[in-house]
Amino acid sequence: MTNNINSRLRKEKIAKVIMQIAGFCIIGSLFLIVGIILYKGVPYLSWDMITETPKGGFYIGKSGGILNAILGSLYLASAATLLAIIIGIPISIYLNLYIKSDSIISRSAKLMFDVLYGIPSIVYGAIAFSIMIWLGIRASLLGGILTITLLTIPIVVRTVDELIKTIPEDLKNVTKSLGATRWESSLILLKYIKTGLFTAMLLAFGRAIGDVAGVLLTTGFSDNIPKYLDEPAATLPLAIFFQLSSPIPEVQGRAYASALILTCIILIIVICTHILTSKNNKQKI
């Protein structure tokens, strides 16, 4: 009996240690990444970096900033996230609340979204690029937005799918028994999972703003801030990539400063989402 308890306690300790090591590894890597970005980027961070567009010769160390890439990334990620939410949520509602979730259509669609979720973004970029050539469209903000939307729709669909599974069956029955149509019922259920929808939005935005391969072929790159959807646009990940490829230390330093700006943008979005989430959690039923 004592041996049995000792063995169980030993397993408990081992499991706890494994979890702690895993946790420290992740937190450690995060601190390492942020530390390197801060260490290498802060000396090159300046007001001009975030308020000016690149002047001639910016990529060989001359003056200017990356405002074009900051705004390009924000435009692209915001529009793609918005479109992915607008398209993804109805898909998920249809697959879970309109047709039986165990039907062949629903199961096949979910499998397809799982596959799409795993396809590398360069594949999306390459396919979108081929279509754009075929249609005679040049690399532009619109091309990038559409490509990244396709990339983020599976994230939204699968996240909302998981959220809908958490809705108690009795709550679904409540709206039905009041004589609500499926659509009216769905609106109430979306309200119930509102907090989770913010998380879905955050995941989609994070993927959209951080993607390089998808925008490489479809969005192009420009030193100007895009005024129209058919103009090429710079994005932060590409700006980091181009600066980091430079042999000039000044430009490489700016790449880290750009990475710091990108991290700060994501951090702000995460904090805002958490504030909204906790505010909604307090009201949640």
């Binding site: 165990d102 009795d170 029955n173 039905k176 028994s177 009041l178 149509t181 309200k191 949640k284 039923i285």
Partner: protein, 270 residues
């Protein structure tokens, strides 16, 4: 103090006879889930303006039967339903039956209260709103009347726009009852509606249901024999998916004809 009314004194004489045009009739109802025969050839006529309790051991098909009455099983996995359920003579399982209209006729009170994620006022007003009532004065009146109906008005009248989740569980269950009544149902279905409540809230809900039977036909699923005894006029005993006995409460509980019913009533089966 919690009081247990004597079943011998229950007034059932004036209740409509099961034979006089029942509100709800179930005919040859069979339900299969995953090819398992859950409900077997159910035939039942629910008397109007009375409380009928469906009792039986766990897993016997009580809740399944209740859910077939307002077609809540339609979206369930691998389900097959045969037979008919007639509400005012209209088969709700007919091919052209309009399901949202059918469900509106039957208010559901589930095991646990599930307020909608909105304010107390909006919870009650939700039903009337989706059915086309947008006049603020009328909505105010409906909310007040229904909250008074369930004895909640005095407790919440100063915080109608607070979140419904801030109410106690007992208050939430009364709110859910009021919400169901706000769409003018004809039948109230209760699925072990007091199982999550404390004795005082249970008594409040039971008293409300007894009061409401003058206007509604009420069907309750319960596994608590004492509750069935306290509130019901009729009892249907289900065992293994079959209705073994149906009759007036005192007949079923005091003089059960079926041997299994006798064993259940005596507590040998649970």
């Amino acid at each position: 103090m919690y009081s247990y009314p004597n079943i011998e004194k229950q007034q059932t004489e004036n209740i409509t006879s099961p034979l006089s045009t029942p509100h709800l009739q179930i005919k040859n109802l069979n339900v299969y889930i995953d090819e398992k025969h859950i409900l077997k050839n159910i035939n039942l006529e629910i008397p109007n303006n009375s409380i009928t309790s469906i009792i039986g051991p766990s897993g016997c098909g009580k809740t399944t039967l209740l859910k077939t009455l307002n077609r809540l099983l339609d979206d369930s996995k691998n389900i097959q339903i045969t037979g008919s359920v007639l509400v005012n003579g209209e088969d709700i399982y007919a091919k052209n039956a309009e399901v949202t209209h059918i469900r509106k006729k039957m208010g559901l009170l589930s095991q646990r209260p599930f307020p909608l994620p909105m304010s107390i006022f909006d919870n009650i007003a939700y039903g009337p709103r989706i059915h086309g009532e947008h006049n603020k004065k009328i909505l105010n009146q409906i909310v007040e009347n229904q909250l008074k109906n369930v004895g909640l008005w005095e407790e919440v009248k100063d915080r109608l726009h607070h979140y419904a989740s801030q109410l106690s569980i007992g208050q939430q269950q009364r709110l859910c009852l009021a919400r169901g009544l706000a769409v003018n149902p004809e039948i109230i279905l209760g699925d072990e509606s007091t199982s999550a409540l404390d004795p005082i809230s249970t008594q409040t809900i039971e008293n409300l249901l007894v009061d409401l039977k003058k206007d509604y036909t009420i069907i309750l699923v319960t596994h608590i024999l004492r509750q069935a005894r306290r509130v019901s006029d009729y009892i249907a005993f289900i065992y293994n998916g079959e209705i073994l006995e149906f009759g007036k409460t005192e007949e079923v509980l005091l003089h059960p004809r079926n041997e299994i019913t006798q064993q259940y009533v005596k507590g040998f089966i649970s």
